[in-house]
């Protein structure tokens, strides 16, 4: 085994040894040796993207739908800088990525060489960790370590910057060790047992409990979602979830309250506000969730389960903190609950469940349908109905359509909803759908999109055509950057500064020009047939769904307000709700 490999060959070996099957990338001068090594093997499939940002979102979609690490391969300079948005997105949503960037040869570093940029400097604050490999003998160890860091603890993106001379250099390849021991990085997996027991005791005493679950459950793996379902069955407690956590708990369950937060349901937000015990499992009290902090769930005892110690007490103080992996903590909760009681708490919390039914009866997701024009909410409901028997994965862009997807598409399983939650990256959904489809060739993969967002990474449709990935891009086309327009209506006297989508392409012709299929629909009566036409086509489809242009995304907690101050769909005048303080917030 003492045969020496070049750096480029080592990269391929290390990727294979870390279980990689697909890479999303784009070649260029400083990464050519690795592309040459890639050319001479068959076990790794390379997906050629059209822009490096697309590669990062594809890797995110791939990672989020499989639980594996997404791998990106790009060149130096612009290759690396184009990847920055996706890396930041992955950092904020805790998605495991390994991004390998080419770099100019070591002697040229710092000379402003062609296509040189300070990749580790630029990506230092938008990665979980990053490396510049200056010595060939460090390369294999660093790649193995990068996979370990990306996927363990709170997952995140890791960049490995490899100068071209290191890619050519010869060195000894070392296999990854079974059990990686890192000197200073030791994520805590197992939660403190006495704290978990205390949490169960609180649960057994609670009169108004609610589970507030997040992306941490999904990152923890499918077993965590099963355990959550088990714990909910045992306890009978209601469940709400963040955007990132949708699917961890089935929307068809009676205990499901819908998503919470700025565009969450009335019942979810009221339950959060009025509860006496909040069980935060793998969520981080994001500002889209909490609304006004000093009005956030004022009378509850807060239990916070998170694998990242820095999430605890960052925004909202926890009364009981459990640092550990959701799967482990939930497993212990279930075990301890069973050891303490056999009876569910349904009877004890009956008044609370009745109160929740009362809130549900307000029907905060109601909207006025139309026979003349397609309502965006209706479009998503029809889409959901059409694919209810499919093996379906949904991605979204960012904006109104994203919130409508979260509100109206019922998610039953984890890893089925890919969306940019933390960074809010318009242009995420189309490439993410490509990444998902690469991992799940036979599944139905749909990007619920807006006409503005989708144009940001439109060119990746061509990637889908090239690799025969039959993604469906379902564009809710309202000719506005809808969420921007809504906020202008709320905050800026309906002066719609630059939020109208002028000069829109003809999406049907565009799809055809790129080698896919285009479908257009503007009549609610023809919508089902048009959706069927989209789903029946064996190839990428752009669906131009013309919807009501001025529809607002409601309900909504206006900025600067608390959970119990929601705007409901029948609020006529939304323009005067937000006060001066609220206007300064995002």
């Amino acid at each position: 085994m003492s045969q020496k490999l070049t750096g480029a060959e080592m990269v391929i070996e290390a990727l294979k040894d870390n279980g990689v099957e697909h890479i999303f990338g784009y070649p260029g001068g400083a990464i050519l040796p690795i592309y040459d090594a890639l050319f001479q093997q068959d076990s790794l499939e390379h997906i050629l993207v059209r822009h490096e940002q697309g590669a990062t979102h594809m890797a995110e979609g791939y990672a989020r739908s499989t639980g594996k690490v997404g791998v990106v391969l790009v060149t130096s300079g612009p290759g690396a800088t184009n990847a920055v948005t996706g890396l930041t997105d992955a950092l904020l949503d805790s998605i495991p990525l390994v991004c390998i960037t080419g770099q100019v040869p070591t002697p040229l570093i710092g000379s402003d060489a062609f296509q040189e940029c300070d990749t580790v400097g630029i990506t230092r604050n938008c990665t979980k960790h990053n490396y510049l490999v200056k010595n060939i003998n460090d390369l294999a160890r660093i790649i193995h370590e990068a996979f370990y860091i990306a996927s363990s603890g709170r997952p995140g993106p890791v960049v490995i910057d490899i100068p071209k001379d290191v890619q050519f250099a010869l060195g000894e390849y070392v296999k990854p060790s079974i059990q990686i021991q890192h000197q200073s990085y030791t994520p805590r997996i197992e939660g403190d047992l006495s704290a978990i027991e205390e949490a169960v005791d609180l649960m057994l005493k609670a009169k108004k409990p609610v589970f507030y679950t997040g992306g941490g459950i999904i990152n923890s793996g499918p077993r965590a979602s099963e355990l959550l379902r088990e714990l909910v069955e045992l306890s009978g407690f209601p469940v709400t979830s963040t955007l990132m956590g949708l699917g961890a708990f089935p929307a068809s369950s009676n205990n499901w309250l819908g998503m919470l937060g700025m565009h969450g349901t009335y019942e979810a937000n009221m339950a959060m506000h009025d509860c006496d015990l909040m069980l935060n499992i793998g969520a981080r009290f994001d500002d889209r969730i909490t609304g006004r902090i000093d009005g956030f769930s004022p009378n509850s005892t807060k239990v916070h389960v998170d694998i990242d110690p820095s999430s605890i007490n960052k925004i909202v103080d926890a009364d009981l903190a459990i640092i550990g992996d959701c799967e482990h903590v939930l497993e212990e909760m279930v075990r301890i609950w069973r050891s303490k009681t056999n009876a569910p708490r349904a009877e004890a919390i009956k008044p609370w469940l009745e109160k929740i039914e009362e809130w549900k009866s307000i029907k905060s997701l109601r909207y006025e349908n139309s026979e003349i024009i397609i309502k965006p909410q209706f479009a998503i409901q029809r889409l959901a109905d059409a694919v209810k028997d499919h093996d379906v994965y949904i991605t979204t862009e960012v904006g109104q359509h994203q919130m409508w997807a979260a509100q109206y598409f019922p998610f039953e399983k984890p890893n089925r909803f890919m969306t940019s939650g933390g960074l809010g990256t318009m242009g995420y959904g189309l490439p993410a759908a490509v990444g998902v489809q690469v991992a799940h060739r036979d599944a139905t993969v749909i990007d619920i999109a807006g006409e503005a967002s989708v144009q940001m990474t439109m060119q990746e449709f061509s990637t889908a055509v090239q690799f025969k990935l039959p993604i469906k891009i379902f564009i809710l086309n309202n000719e506005y950057m809808g969420m921007v327009r809504q906020w202008q209506e709320l905050l800026h006297g309906s002066r719609f500064a630059h939020s109208y989508s002028e000069s829109l392409p003809d999406f049907v012709k565009l799809a055809e020009a790129m080698g896919g299929k285009g479908v257009r629909c503007e009549d609610p009566a023809k919508l089902d047939a048009a959706i069927a036409e989209m789903l029946d086509y064996d190839g990428p489809v752009l669906f131009d769904c013309r919807v009501e242009r001025l529809e607002n995304c409601l309900p909504m907690i206006p900025s600067g307000k608390a959970h119990n101050e929601m705007i409901l769909p029948d609020t006529a005048d939304i323009a005067n709700i937000i006060d001066e303080e609220g206007k300064k917030l995002v």
């Binding site: 604050n125 960790h129 000197q183 200073s184 009005g295 608390a562």
Partner: protein, 184 residues
């Protein structure tokens, strides 16, 4: 307005979180690798924390470890966050809030250049002796003093040198270590 839109009183009876600002000295044990200082400094600037003073030097060569002493000013809640955020960095081994753990030993070194003639030179030397500042360079018209001690002592010495012909000062920033037999 819908009745449910009326703000409930509950939100407004909460006590404001104490925003009392404290000065703390943190000791950070890190891998001595390229970019580590940028990681630490970048974390402080990215998250809006203050750096009052920062010193770094390798302390255990065989293990490739450096100790960073950083003085920051923040509320108790932010101080906890700073410690946790630092611990999140991969090459960081340990973070100790020395101020929170007790009364640490804190020392700083300064080199102070003073130029002057006649009576001022005599007074300068007299004060230097009182402050136990060493003369490390002298010419017929100037001295360079080396002074170590608490930051407040150094600041006081410098202010006394101003009227006597202070030319310039360099300071190392604070180094700190805990008292008693235990290491970090």
């Amino acid at each position: 307005m819908n009745p449910h839109l009326r703000a409930s009183g509950s939100a407004y009876f909460l006590t404001k979180v104490s925003k009392k600002i404290e000065r703390h000295t943190l000791s950070v044990l890190v891998d001595n690798e390229p970019g580590i200082l940028a990681r630490i400094a970048g974390l402080f600037s990215a998250r809006g924390y203050n750096i009052e003073s920062l010193t770094v030097s390798e302390t255990e060569h065989e293990k490739g470890l450096s100790r960073i002493t950083v003085v920051t000013i923040a509320s108790a809640k932010t101080l906890r966050q700073i410690k946790l955020q630092l611990e999140r960095l991969i090459p960081v081994h340990k973070v100790h809030d020395l101020t929170a753990e007790g009364n640490p030993l804190e020392r700083e070194l300064a080199l102070v250049k003073v130029a002057g003639k006649g009576e001022n030179r005599v007074e300068t030397l007299r004060l230097a002796e009182a402050f136990r500042a060493q003369v490390v360079d002298a010419s017929t018209t100037s001295f360079v003093f080396e002074i170590t001690g608490k930051s407040s002592k150094i600041a006081q010495f410098i202010s006394l040198m101003v009227p006597l012909g202070l030319v310039e000062v360099v300071r190392t920033g604070l180094s700190a270590i805990s008292r008693g037999p235990d290491g970090m």
